[in-house]
């Protein structure tokens, strides 16, 4: 029987990814409260989360330019909404940023529904900016090979409904736990686990159709 309650199956990636480990909540809360008035504090938050948001949006869109644009939107919206943001116990600031970024990605796909395919083709210049931190990859050939594989998975993911796609991306590519995904998607823990499981089942069907699981 499949265990839907534990995080056993997947190693969390953020230990090796560019995203910093979540800071202790009281320290982060204090920083967020200071950031409402203090540009330096906001700068600290920005530096801590920029890379993870940029990477997340790149993994969602597969275009460096689009990812940068959406990252800008995310941080500008965060700055605008910071005054209304009240840190709650057990809810991370990072989750809030991911929530904004997810909405940005969703809006982007909604506006560019007909142009997904063109966005999937990275040019040479963009390839030079791509890095695979896990496992460490340096040679351009390896990067191209891994990018090709990722694009294939991404295309399969794109055939899923938006909610499943987001849940699976956050879970397996961002390495977030179920709890944090629940915070981002504003759903209960059980609902997220079931969402991930059903998403996997649907993706399995799609991948089987593509012959990618062999």
């Amino acid at each position: 029987m499949n265990d839907l309650t534990g995080d056993r199956a997947v190693p969390l990636r953020h230990a090796v990814d560019s995203a910093p480990p979540a800071s202790p909540l009281d320290v982060e809360t204090e920083l967020v409260l200071r950031a409402k008035n203090d540009p330096a504090a906001f700068g600290e938050l920005y530096e801590a989360h920029y890379q993870s948001i940029l990477n997340y949006l790149y993994r969602r869109t597969l275009s460096a330019t689009v990812a940068e644009d959406l990252t800008s939107n995310t941080f500008f919206k965060a700055l605008r909404g910071l005054s209304g943001y009240h840190p709650r116990p057990l809810i991370r600031f990072r989750s809030w940023l991911y929530q904004i970024a997810t909405n940005e990605a969703r809006m982007h796909w909604r506006n560019h529904r007909g142009r997904c395919e063109t966005l999937l083709q990275s040019d040479e210049m963009e390839l030079s900016r791509i890095t695979f931190v896990w496992p460490q990859t340096d040679s351009p050939e390896m990067v191209r090979e891994k990018q090709k594989h990722y694009v294939m998975v991404h295309q399969a993911l794109n055939q899923l409904p938006e909610l499943y796609r987001t849940a699976l991306t956050l879970r397996y590519f961002e390495g977030l736990g179920h709890e944090e995904i629940a915070e981002i998607l504003c759903k209960r823990l059980g609902a997220v686990k079931s969402l991930v499981h059903r998403g996997l089942a649907r993706l399995a069907k799609i991948m089987t159709g593509l012959g990618a699981t062999e």
């Binding site: 990814d17 008035n37 990477n55 940068e68 791509i130 890095t131 990018q147």
Partner: protein, 247 residues
């Protein structure tokens, strides 16, 4: 191995791409800081009464964005232009006052019931604005004494016939030219036996009747063809006024 486990393994083992640092990071931070500092400046300019609440301190009211100096300046310019346009339209409307207004004004002044007045009517001609005094006088309540005093020639004449007057400008209301045969001259000198006046009033009201017509100096100079036209019942009163003036 179940398909979901297989997919889970595949996803877990997929190498995920990331982007190396670019100029974007620095540029975005600079923009964010600039925006935050300008927000702070706004707050310093308008210190809050409730200084204890951090949430209130950082809340920007939507109207504050609208109340930028450049928007106030633009709004002021738009308001000035709008007012000037309204004033111009209103003044044009005063010049093209409907003939009914002139009717009422004159019938009151003459004291004689049913007095008909043919006033310089709707003309959008700019030259008309050169005579503001005359025009405003015509639109005000004029007494019969004033009309008599202002006329260069006063005659009693019978309306013979009429013809549609050519419009001076496109869009002018219909006007008619009426020919009068002069029966007698009450004031001034007039060589012509037949005179023509222009009026927006229907010609049927005039034809076949006698009228006391007051010809202004402008009419005599040929500047226009409009003339005050009073019922014949006003003749004794006009004569009395003329006699009074002679004394």
């Amino acid at each position: 191995m179940r398909p979901t486990d297989k997919i889970e393994k595949l996803l877990s083992e997929t190498a995920v791409p990331g982007l190396k640092d670019g100029l974007h990071r620095v540029a975005l931070k600079r923009e964010l800081m600039a925006q935050m500092q300008s927000k702070e400046r706004l707050l310093v300019e308008e210190p809050l009464q409730n200084d204890g609440d951090l949430a209130l301190a950082t809340r920007t009211n939507p109207w504050r964005r609208i109340m930028q100096p450049q928007w106030i300046a633009v709004a002021a310019v738009v308001a000035v232009v709008a007012v000037s346009v309204v004033v111009r339209l209103t003044s044009n409307r005063a010049v093209v006052a409907p003939p009914e207004l002139a009717h009422v004004a004159s019938s009151d002044s003459s004291g004689a019931a049913g007095a008909v007045v043919v006033q310089p009517p709707s003309t959008r001609n700019l030259s008309a604005t050169k005579e503001p005094a005359t025009r405003s006088l015509s639109l005000q309540r004029r007494t019969l004494e004033q009309s008599v005093a202002g006329a260069e020639v006063i005659v009693v004449a019978t309306a013979l016939d009429s013809a549609p007057a050519p419009p001076k400008r496109p869009g002018d209301g219909p006007e008619v030219l009426i020919r009068f045969r002069v029966a007698r001259v009450l004031k001034g000198k007039l060589a012509e036996e037949v005179i023509t006046t222009r009026t927006p009033t229907s010609a049927d009201d005039f034809i076949g009747k006698e009228w006391v017509i007051m010809l202004s100096p402008e009419y005599m100079a040929g500047k226009h063809q409009f003339a005050d036209c009073n019922w014949i019942k006003a003749e004794p009163e006009v004569k009395a006024i003329l006699a009074k003036v002679k004394k």
